[in-house]
Amino acid sequence: MTLYEGIALIQEKQAVVLDLGTDYTKFGFTGEAAPRCIIPSQFWCTKDRRYKRVHHYNSTEELYENLVQMLHLLYFRHVLVNPKERKVVVVESLLTTTQFRETLAKVLFMHYEVSGVTWWDSARACAATLGTPIVLVVNIGAKEAEVVAVVHGVPVVHAIQSEPLGAQTLHDNLARMLDEDNNAQLNLEPSVIEDIKVRTCFVPGRQLVAQLGGQCSSVRSVQYPRASGALTVSGRARALAAEPLFDRDREQASLPDAVLRCIRSCPIDTRRALAENVLVTGGGAALPGLKARLACELRHLVSQDPYKDSLHVAKFKFHSSPCEDNVCAWVGGALCGAADWGVRAAPRDQYLREPRLRDWACLLHNTPPDHHHHCP
């Protein structure tokens, strides 16, 4: 046990850190190096008698009920503390919908009566795990890959790049290739696809892709055991599952393009520093070989056409965060939440007086004080 964990025990009530991802939810205490639990973001719905995903909702009421159920599961099955009178640190993407944020705030403040909530965006939280002032965070999540430049603790909002290149894209591509290889409509469950991806797939290097061509006959195939007979995962499926991330055909919407676009939209004096402080993280980045491939693609692309003249960065350097890739944002939240002792948390009584959250997209909160539209 490290020194600070001991201090956290003396502290009256340790805050909890919540990272409600699309696929997995990370939940634990501030000041600890790893979350207490990483569980799928779903709960058993007694009404429908099936597992229901938190992010599958049609109305605000449904989302409210989903969040109540999910938090109940987290608090009373995994972390085993009373939610009442305890602070919460929420780690979320900068592009989280207002509906989701406000419903989550309502659930936390009104339903669970927590004493305060701090909102941290995942980009700054990821950057906090490094301790470096300028970081380019490439976060590959379940649905989207987000590229955010964090310069001295401020995310450069106008340069945010977000592409639908998350784990879901990989899963769809893998499922399609498996169907083709087996000449059948397999209709594999998402958990099986994920398992095949995690255990067999990899990202080949740039040269290897060119060498292999479209066939990949030299890549070993794998027999994946299933209850209804083994499934052949061909070498092509293993090697090319992650190819959509690097596919430039769709109007240059590939991951390396997003990274370079983000750097290009940033202030000119930060561009070189950003390129030399790249952090590739998120659960999707844990695929073997992905980081090396991204580095290689970046170095190649920067000398190519749209960037050749506008972007003059010579070097790309990469960080590795002191945690597993899938919990990076959570660990950042645990660090930030422990450092300020919850001073920055929005207190409950303030929310009760005025149930509104601060948001970067809202002009009420980010109009400069000397602007004539500013209202105090």
Binding site: F76, E113, E194, R220, R238
Partner: protein
């Protein structure tokens, strides 16, 4: 009527608007209202290990990170691990000769084994232990050291920010005297103030900042080995996602790196009514006991409705429905069946204002009722099936366990009450289905019960209570689907 695996045919409306089977509802004896898991406050009562049924005080549970110290789960299949004993082979010592070995008792050694998937702690090279429980090697998070450094750094920054803010404020209001005192000049007061406030001196926080080494970016990224793609993949050696996520600190990717998982504790929960803060349930402390100290379940207080039988629901037809009503309380109950819209709106309002009341209120903390606006909602009642209200109210005898053995005296019966037996009776009701009811849609009849309830809470001095109340409950009865 609630089943474990079948759908719930009879559901009750909670005060907050949720529709649930009676087994999932609570009844607050102090507000005389039905409550459910959604609108009450849950609290952690006590921690225990579900495997060894050992209690753990919450402070100890917090120290042990909510894990049992003697039980382990299999990292491969998550089944509970069992401790197996073996006799360690007596070590052959070539120098001592054979004679000495015979005298030695063979030593008992223990290892962990999973009876479900046959995983053992020997598979991953954990040495056998000389004691049966505990003593297993503990692993620390490989990143704990760096995490500690980062935390120290951020805390120092936060500290410095706070200090700067304080200094700024002090400067603003400092009244400059004519003469510079010696203490001001040497900065002694600042240091003294810091020590009296118990804050670390400014030097230590700045040294934490100065000594911190930010993460160094590297140009080369670890690449896969050249022959990675031609190597055979043995899926038996690679862990699955659930296996990795079961221990968030390590997330072992290879089966050979799996470690036994200390079993997570469970909690007993107590429930509290949000409105009056009285306990609805409180479990017994003993983990082996499934009894409650306080148990205000709706099942013991609200008349229970069961379906005996019903005719198929057809659009535009009047069909019959047989119900059984049970009185679970120890008092006679006067019940009448009414239409759901006849249930009076009972607003949970404050008492009429009076000077004494507001004086009393000013003493106490104001009760926070903000949760009501988000939790309570009006349920949508389906109106396609109309109930014919029987012009009848009837008494239901109290529950009497001894009455089961008595020969039942014959009660008078009529077309509505088919039979009576101690605290139960059967009813024949008529329902009319709307002409426009869609074929294939679920048929749900709504009926409301008005029943008398005797409150057994001893009246307190400041809240004189009446003993007899008239309460209402609304029930949704699922009658299959509308058929042609």
């Amino acid at each position: 009527m609630a089943y474990l695996i079948q759908p719930d045919y009879v559901q009750y409306f909670c005060t907050c608007g949720q529709i649930k089977p009676i087994t999932n509802l609570y009844f607050c004896r102090h507000c005389l209202k039905v409550r459910c898991g959604f609108c009450i406050c849950h609290e952690v009562d006590s921690h225990y290990c579900a495997n060894c049924l050992e209690n753990m005080p919450s402070s100890e549970a917090r120290l042990k990170k909510n894990r049992c110290s003697s039980c382990f789960d299999c990292p491969s299949c998550f089944h509970t691990l069992s401790t197996r004993a073996t006799y360690a082979p007596a070590r052959q010592d070539p120098a001592a000769g054979d004679a000495k070995v015979e005298n030695k008792q063979p030593k008992k050694m223990y290892y962990l084994s999973c009876f479900n998937c046959r995983w053992t702690s020997r598979d991953v090279g954990i040495p056998d232990q000389p004691v049966a429980s505990g003593g297993w090697p503990e692993r620390t998070n490989p990143f704990a050291n760096r995490f500690g450094q980062l935390l120290e750094y951020f805390k120092a920054i936060a500290q410095q920010e706070k200090q700067d803010k304080l200094d700024k404020e002090r400067k603003k209001y400092a009244i400059r005297g004519k003469y510079i005192t010696l203490t001001d000049k040497t900065g002694l007061t600042g240091a003294m103030a810091r020590t009296t406030a118990g804050l670390p001196s400014s030097e230590s926080s700045s040294s934490a900042i100065a000594n911190f080494v930010p993460s160094q970016a590297k140009e080369e990224v670890e690449e896969l080995p050249e022959d990675y793609h031609t190597k055979e993949v043995n899926l038996k050696l690679i862990t699955t996602m659930p296996q990795r996520l079961a221990s968030p600190e390590w997330q072992a990717q290879l089966v050979s790196r799996l470690q036994p998982i200390a079993r997570p504790l469970s909690v007993k929960r107590s429930q509290r009514c949000r409105r009056c803060d009285h306990n609805l349930t409180k479990p017994e402390y003993n983990p082996g006991s499934i009894k409650f100290k306080i148990e205000l379940l709706a099942y013991y207080h609200v008349p229970e409705v069961k379906i005996i039988s019903f005719e198929t629901i057809k659009p535009g037809c009047t069909t019959e429905l047989l119900l059984k009503l049970t009185n679970p309380t120890a008092h006679e109950m006067q019940i009448s069946i009414i239409q759901p819209d006849e249930v009076p709106e009972v607003e949970e309002k404050e008492e009429p204002k009076s000077i004494e009341k507001s004086l009393e209120k000013s003493l106490n903390l104001e009760k926070d009722t903000s949760w009501r606006q988000v939790i309570e909602r009006k349920p949508l009642l389906p109106t396609t099936i109309k109930l014919h209200k029987p012009e009848l109210s009837f008494t239901l005898a109290q529950r009497d366990d001894a009455a089961e053995y008595d020969d039942d005296s014959h009660h008078e019966t009529n077309d509505i009450i088919l039979w009576r037996k101690s605290n139960k009776l059967a009813l024949r009701l008529k329902v009319t289905t709307d002409e426009e009811a869609k074929v294939g849609s679920p048929a749900v009849a709504i009926l409301a019960l008005q029943y008398s309830y005797r409150n057994t809470v001893p009246p307190t001095a400041n809240s004189p209570q009446t003993r007899d109340h008239v309460l209402y409950t609304t029930v949704a009865i699922h009658l299959g689907t509308v058929t042609q």
